[in-house]
Symmetry: C2
């Protein structure tokens, strides 16, 4: 009888347990052991902000299966025949001897254990700003169950009045919402000029406006200079521009770094982004060692370049791949990521898949075309809500490179559709006649996703000459004075308007009021309406009547990120 | 100067106005005229059931733009420079003279009008059963604005107590819900053995169970024999098996037929399905005549065969294609349909895209493989709701042929994902590592869609030996006595169970209780749990310990369509 294969998994959060479970399903006879530093196993860490925010109250829901069984060592041994040792930190990997040394962090007990295959799932460590005061009481991250407990207690105690969230990324925004819901006055500070860098600036600005409308403060373009305190306790956050924000709590969410200490000490190859280097089998430079989750570098499927993509869904998928390969032989591969992400932001959702315009340009795509579509997710009579989508495509081939979507509408479905389009390598032409599930409770007859492709097609064919809100604002600031034509109704104009020197001529009256338009048929005219559909029709009518330089402001007023007159 | 092109559109509901609007955007100088038989234009006819059901009360919302402007002739002329003649029935198309004859159905006025390009968008007519009594007062369809008004008045009057819906398709189910919500006792009768034929039987049965749980009656496998009445008024519906159902209202929803009368009289080619035959440009057998919407036959993109697909979204997309071709020259094409459909059913949603198992077999796919996945759309702590998906793939290539999904969860997103996968010609291997938008408010870390592909992959690789609920039930009926193993907890078993002779051994205790399993290692063992994930793990453990004939009942109890013991 052959000896049982021994598979050791270091890390028991997301990728590790998934790898172990998959290994068990593939290999019934293997000995499978999870070594987990924390007290808990298989925590739903992406759920922490919702626990902190009071979306649910039973902490155990973060730790249990769908039928309410806690995923503790007893569960793992009984249900999966996997030995899980918690509170057990691995202190060394000896690749020559194929052993790991470990230490129980409660009892101090140490030991070593041999392996045939090792799976490293050590996750990530939160980045901390290197500023004075970082050790003060009242500063935390939201990375561990302990952090979640700490913040949830703060919520329940209801004593803290002011908090600062350092970092305006996914976790920062989710934490902001959670604490704001707890009645704490929040300020989010972000070093970069925008929140949520998976979005381009103009969409991020719309999200920022929404966050502010919910009562939270947002400060961008301004990093943290110091944490200030008294008697060891945080009292304020000092910004790089000198501003001091009094607060009793600061949550640092400026990103995470792959936790590669063990792997590095064991001499495994580390990539240029300082994550573990793995091949398509999730195998490290040592063929007996696999690595998965936040600690690895992953291929971006669009650019072919390595990226850090610390997302829970990828961790699980990678775990499944490594688990199977470790339990049999290299037979399944992980294709990489298109960096799909999504984030609830109060009543908005913000999501992205593929490349943003900024990201595409950064990696060298030069011939790209973008478009913005603002329109509802469902008919008005079914309570449709606004979506603002920005689509990025290759100008020559029409291949979809990326899409971002924000708004109170069903963003998740939109992003899922774009993600599948990108993974199917679809072009705009493939999407314009897509057959999607239509009924009024779920979408418009032509879904927002398809309409976005239609607008892109019109732009690619030169029919729609788009101009971005940013370009229009630049013209206003530089007193270029294009002829700005708002094509909505007087009632709409009275209720809400940009106030940047625009003239109101409702679309329905336009053909009778051409004489109010510039005599100079070559003068630049910029048309828009609420979402710029009427704006587009106006532009076509003007072009059909001789004006030669007519543009449509993409997304209309709904995608205007700047302050409005009303 | 060249003469203005004259484009006439017959039909003003969905496809017609879209064709006209697109033609205008492509050709600013053309003369564009819509001839519409009804009084209204561009009605959101898919919204009728929701108006009838009281989902909204403002009738005008079915007829107005997103900003509240009614799409009447005034709107069309002012905003789009399109002449729309309502109450105007086209009585003849003279292809030789290139004219249409029309008649105002209010004034009786007649006339003829020449065209350069004609677009036929005459829609469909509801099928009516050829049974006695069909002329009785109290029998209606839900096809027109007039029908919607009639049923809405019935709802508001609150006098009618009992109604029968004849036909259990999309419109039948939507109507059932609308009237049920109005407090009317409803019976849906369906000639076929199931509701919603875009689903396979076992999923349709789960929907039927849900409809019944909402208090509506459902009678399948039983058609209508006669409408019975007194003094010209409906008093009952008589079924083919002799049952009489007393009722004051009957809504007939047994499908629609392409309205091809005009086209047929004009000698245009009609297809074998008795819809207008069109090419990829939406062009009829007469090059100057296009046709769009419910009146045409469309290509099924998976089978390459013509189908009738009377859906509002396709009508709009086809209208857009025909509008552009008619306004310029044949330059854009419509690729066909994958017959994606969706339907709200009280608290459930039922959707389908591509081929059902039944449909796939009917068109000759012989080497197919199917799988059922029952699991939630989101984590339990975020209020996740059940989804039951049936996936159909080509067994050899793994290409996705179709997917159906039902349940209280986010079915619409699931179906959209499958629809994009089918349109991208993706295989199961392409989907197992899909990168989709994950955050707890929106999905599980591994989305239900991906999990479905995982289960399919396990089945294709022979790891999961699936058995359907129907096969299990057949064995029970035939007293075959397989060893039925329920792997849930005693608490779950106490709360809900099939009661078909199963033995309860919780997964966590299984490895210690192997002695309770059949001594004969070749005996058929069928494992399941709530959703059959634990059932699968149990099956693997049994196989790992020598049992050779172990199956997993797909979808577990959640996908069991028959009555349960409790």
């Amino acid at each position: 009888m052959t000896r049982r294969r021994k598979i050791i998994v270091i890390g028991g959060s997301a990728a590790g347990p998934k790898a172990a479970a998959k290994a068990r399903r593939i290999n019934n006879s293997a000995e499978i052991i999870i070594l987990q530093k924390d007290a808990d196993l298989s925590m739903a860490s992406c759920g922490y902000p919702y626990y902190v925010g009071g979306c649910f109250n039973d902490r155990n829901m973060l730790l249990c299966t769908g039928t309410g069984v806690t995923r503790n060592p007893m569960f793992y041994i009984n249900a999966k025949n996997i030995e899980a040792k918690v509170n057990t930190e691995v202190t060394q990997i000896d690749r020559t001897k194929r052993t790991v040394a470990f230490r129980n962090i409660i009892s101090g007990e140490t030991g070593t254990m041999n392996y045939d295959k090792l799976i490293i799932a050590t996750g990530s460590v939160p980045r901390m700003p290197s500023v004075p005061g970082v050790e003060l009481e009242g500063i935390t991250t939201l990375q561990s169950m302990k952090d979640a407990d700490f913040l949830r207690n703060i919520r329940d105690a209801g004593k803290i009045k002011k908090a600062v969230v350092v970092g305006g990324g996914l976790i920062g925004i989710e934490t902001c919402e959670a604490l704001q819901l707890a009645g704490i006055e929040i300020t989010v500070i972000e070093l970069l000029p925008q929140l949520l860098t998976f979005l381009d600036w103009e969409l991020a600005k719309l999200v920022e406006n929404h966050v502010k409308s919910k009562g939270a403060n947002v400060i961008t373009d301004n990093g943290i200079a110091a944490f200030l305190g008294e008697k060891g306790k945080l009292t304020a956050v000092k910004l790089q521009n000198g501003t001091e924000l009094p607060c009793e709590l600061a949550v640092v969410a400026i990103g995470v770094m792959p936790n590669i200490k063990l792997a590095q000490e064991a001499g495994l190859k580390i990539g240029t982004l300082v994550g573990l280097d793995v091949n398509e089998y999730m195998q490290t430079s040592d063929p007996d060692i696999y690595a998965v989750g936040d600690c690895v570098e992953t291929i971006n499927r669009i650019t072919g370049k390595k990226v850090l993509a610390p997302y829970g869904d990828l961790a699980n998928l990678q775990g499944r791949v490594a688990g199977e390969n470790a339990a049999s032989e290299n037979c399944v591969t992980f294709p990489g990521t298109i960096q799909t992400g999504i984030c609830k932001v109060f009543d908005y959702v913000a999501g992205s898949t593929g490349l943003s315009e900024t990201a595409a340009k950064k990696v060298g795509f030069s011939n790209i075309i973008t478009v913005i579509n603002a329109s509802p997710d469902k008919p008005g009579f079914m309570g449709g809500k606004l979506l603002v989508t920005k689509l990025i495509a290759d100008k020559k081939t029409g291949r979809v490179l990326g899409a971002q979507c924000i708004g109170p509408g069903n963003v998740s479905k939109q992003i899922a559709q774009w993600a599948m389009a990108i993974q199917g390598k679809l072009t705009i032409d493939d999407i314009i006649n897509a057959d999607l599930p239509y009924a009024p409770p779920f979408s418009l007859a032509i879904d927002h996703f398809i309409t976005t492709a239609h607008i892109m097609q019109n732009k690619m064919k030169g029919r729609l000459k788009g101009i971005t809100s940013m370009e229009v604002w630049q013209k206003v600031l530089e007193h270029e004075k294009p002829f700005l034509l708002d094509t909505r109704s007087p009632e709409e104009f009275e209720e809400m308007r940009l106030g940047i020197g625009e003239i109101l001529i409702p679309l329905g009256a336009l053909r009778k009021r051409f004489q109010e338009l510039p005599e100079d048929k070559n003068r630049e005219i910029i048309c828009y309406c609420k979402i710029s559909l009427r704006g587009y029709e106006a532009a076509l009518a003007l072009e059909g009547n001789g004006w030669t330089n007519v543009k449509v402001m993409e997304g209309g007023i709904m995608a205007w990120p700047y302050a409005r007159e009303k």
